[in-house]
Amino acid sequence: MPERTEVVTSQPRAGAPRRPLLEVVGLSAWYGEAQVLSDVSLDVGSGEVVTLVGRNGAGKTTLLRSVMGLHKQTRGSVTFEGLEITRRTADARARLGVGWVPDDRGIYATLSVEENLLLPPVVHEEAWPIERVYESFPVLHERRDFPGTKLSGGEQQMLAMARVLRMGARMLLLDEPSEGLAPVIVQRIGEIIREIKGQGVGVLLVEQNVKFAATVADRHYLLAQGRVVEHLDNRQFQDRESELLTYLGM
């Protein structure tokens, strides 16, 4: 992978060896009158893990929701696998291979663990068969008949990620997967992220845990008050870790 040291890339990288999997250009978003995102541009390649780092209220979750098509008040464009999806509905985007793992994990209480896994349609040939999901996450197999929300927080996070992998998502939108989880589980989530990265899946990761972000990501976008203020590769990010921690108030 070539070194990238340039700051905010608002232009698509012309002549880049491969087209990015996900490309966001000039995205702005509002809640009523309040603007929460201003002209955000970023991209994520296949097999690349990119984080969005920023304080609470910086607009990270809104950005993920806008990419998923759940936030309606937006301007700008979102392109996925070379296809402009800005005007597509959330369900159409999911069927193209965008997998959303929300910050509350989004596990259904009225569906069993197995039903949670089987709910999304299979949309890609490289989707994980249910057997593979159970092999990777034996606990989900053990508890497959339990209501989804009877799982522990860590197990629910696994389930939420496994669900979009079973669907065959090529791009994961992960909203704070490590939040509130024990270190050993955060480590396991890191392993999963590295595994799917190896399969060419792209990951856009919202993360407050800077140390965790540095262990899995290739690049980082720093978001402040709805703008991308810095764009760092992982080496720069690690060099400035203590500064960033202070900036984030941690």
Binding site: L70, L111, M167
Partner: protein, 289 residues
């Protein structure tokens, strides 16, 4: 003792009408987020259509039990396509007002056409007598109505619990936005679900036809009790709607039998107690932080 058994049966039969209708109301609320105030009017329409089919076309009860829900499914599809759909993006209050107005229109239309006195409907042949269970004589029709409601509730439950369609309806009921983000076109299910809910109300109307006075106003009080049922069961809970339906039927029947003056109040006292002890209803999920 035998009187108590009879009241219980009466309660369960009436509870069946509530359970079926509340089930429809709960599914509609779950998937569309619409509080369908016209549900009582649709129950009334089911009974009126059954009576008209019998009087004018000679279609008897057993066929009506099949035909009326199909007609009401169509009515539901029309209501959703022509009216409700346009307001789904707005505040839920708009659809509440729309269906409230629709209920008034339906009631007045039936009044104009069929007057205010009750339409006759005889208990179907074969169910007009009494059957004796353990030495207690019970009206055969009530036994049938009660068992039939339970059977339909069970079938609906199987549909919801064991099929892919049911899984999608449950998921959409619990979290419509998230379900869309997982690749399900929730909008595709909105029309059939609305039709299904209305069909259940119509079916309850047919079942009630031989048992209740068939008038334009029969749904007006019914729908108020129905909202109590849904609140007691837990808004958005399908199982809760069914259980609370039978429970409210029983409370009402015992009230009428033992304390007639308080029969109607009893239901709302029950509702108040449930809300005080469990604000989210018997089967409603607790609010999560």
């Amino acid at each position: 003792m035998s009187a108590f058994v009879q009241y219980t049966l009466q309660g369960l039969a009436a509870g069946g009408f509530y359970a079926l209708s509340a089930l429809g109301l709960a599914v509609i609320f779950g998937v569309l987020g619409v509080v369908n105030f016209s549900h009582g009017a649709c129950y009334m329409l089911g009974a009126v259509i059954a009576a008209v089919l019998l009087a004018e076309v000679g279609i008897h009860f057993w066929v009506a039990l099949l035909v009326v829900p199909v007609i009401m499914f169509g009515v539901g599809v029309l209501i959703e396509r022509l009216l409700v759909r346009w307001l789904l993006q707005l505040d839920p209050l708009y659809n509440f007002l729309l269906t409230f107005g629709l209920a008034l229109v339906l009631v007045e239309a039936v009044k104009r056409r069929y007057g205010v006195s009750g339409l006759p409907y005889e208990v179907p042949a074969g169910l007009s007598g009494q059957i004796t269970v353990a030495g207690v004589g019970l009206p055969a029709y009530q036994v049938f109505a009660c068992l039939f409601s339970v059977a339909i509730c069970l079938l609906s439950w199987l549909l919801l619990a064991k099929t892919r369609v049911g899984m999608i309806v449950r998921a959409s009921t619990e979290a419509p936005e998230r379900t869309r983000a997982l690749g399900i076109n929730v909008g595709l299910w909105v029309t059939p679900v609305f039709g299904f809910g209305i069909a259940l109300a119509g079916l309850a109307g047919v079942l009630a036809a031989p048992f209740r006075a068939i008038t334009a106003e029969m749904g007006s009080n019914f729908v108020i009790v129905l909202f109590a049922v849904v609140v007691i069961g837990g808004l958005g809970s399908i199982l809760g709607a069914v259980v609370a339906g039978f429970l409210v039927g029983l409370v009402e029947a015992y009230g009428v039998a033992y304390a007639p003056a308080y029969a109607q109040i009893a239901i709302f006292v029950l509702m108040a107690i449930v809300i005080l002890v469990r604000p989210s209803g018997l089967f409603g999920r607790e609010e999560t932080a």
